[in-house]
Symmetry: C2
Subunit: 216 residues, 2 copies
DNA sequence: TTCACTTCTTAACCCAAGTCAAGGAGTTTG
DNA sequence: CAAACTCCTTGACTTGGGTTAAGAAGTGAA
């Protein structure tokens, strides 16, 4: 298991126990054979990255998949000089650039760590090698992608059939921790409105708390 | 090759030459081995279906993938009793219920043929069998899904960062044939507005033809 | 302390989409 | 033929987001 580029938590000893724990959980899974786990231990790096780091910048070629063990990452792209936030990734989420692995095209999104994160790094070449060594895993990955694709479709449909206000209420219920991590103007962008509008939405909800548009 | 449920073009002889031609193209591809082509011939059905037929209804469990050789299919779901159109599929498109193959859940979208269509039908069990017989094809399918996922993401980003008017202009440029096949209120729904609004958008574009909002 | 900077809020005004209602054009049906 | 129906358009009004501008609250620096 590679441990390069580790940013040590300030004032701690040499060993990063948080990262070590994640490594251990990786190689002690009982969904994988010993060969598979050895392969992971050999080829997957766990890294601690600082707030503000970009795992991917617009125009770059993505070379690895990432998995988030801790922290929060914002995905955005530029449109008319403005950053449009399209996703927030938190613990347990994968960032895997689905689709642009072979026919490599420059990315049109960026991935920015909005706080210190712990991630695993899984290069595409290693993935390719893994699929050759363990065809069973390619099958699992295919199903995993199909599942993510399906979830994403549902998320898009929900997004499109709700108002910015409803999206706000849904987000604050399902991911309240985001509001501690991310400035509101990023959340506004994610909800599809300008910061001023999010302010008004919050104002409206404040004055009629959780009361749906009612006939007085 | 199965040819069940064929709707014969009216007044024609027993053989449906259009369908036969598609079958021939399927088994004469030179991207596939002879074994693979035999498997296709054995397991893929080509069907001609009438306008108005539903390939999938909300609540049903999808059991097959489809590929469109001719015609047009509308995908929609119900939201507050209203049909929200989310996609139009035309020649060359695949309808493959990505994601809901194994952990089967009832569909929340419907697929309606808006005109007579010619499709291929590929049951999931057959797909599963195919993956076991020809692992090479599972690899290709995985990459295909990744590509579609990626395209879909781009489409969503474009959708979200454009106005209904821009979406209309883009659609009429890229898929003008749709406007011959589909009533405008379905297109309105697809563009994310009510029919009345689409009328006004068309009116605006009529009075200032292809002139972007200009300072006079 | 003051100044600069970031983030969020508020107000005034404009514009586009939603809503409701009416009507026209083209079908199909009796 | 008229009646019914579908699809599209138009008008008047409401609503909510965009824009611009101003300012409040918090932070950090000189």
């Amino acid at each position: 298991m590679k441990l390069d580029n580790i940013v040590k938590p300030s004032g701690k000893a040499d060993l990063d126990f948080e990262v070590l724990e994640i490594m251990n959980s990786l190689v002690s899974s009982n969904e994988n054979t010993q060969e598979e786990k050895d392969f992971f231990a050999e080829n997957i790096a766990i890294k601690r990255v600082k707030k503000g780091v970009f795992l991917l910048k617009e125009g770059q070629f993505l070379k690895s998949s990432y998995h988030l063990y801790k922290g929060c990452i914002r995905e955005f792209y530029l449109k008319d000089g403005e950053e449009k936030t399209v996703a927030f990734y938190t613990v347990g989420d994968s960032l895997s650039g689905d689709g642009n692995k072979l026919n490599q095209v420059p990315s049109d999104v960026s991935w920015e760590c909005i706080c210190e994160c712990i991630i695993s790094v899984f290069p595409f070449e290693v993935e390719k090698e893994m699929f050759q060594l363990f065809p069973r895993l390619e099958s699992l990955c295919r199903m995993g992608i199909e599942k993510r694709y399906s979830n994403y479709k549902n998320a898009v449909n929900n997004y499109l059939s709700s108002s910015p206000g409803e999206r706000y209420e849904h987000l604050i219920k399902t991911k309240p921790e985001l509001f501690q991590l991310v400035p509101l103007y990023h959340i506004a962008s994610y909800l599809g409105v300008k910061p001023e509008s999010l302010s008004r939405i919050r104002g409206r909800l404040r004055s009629s708390p959780s009361a749906k548009p009612s006939i007085e």
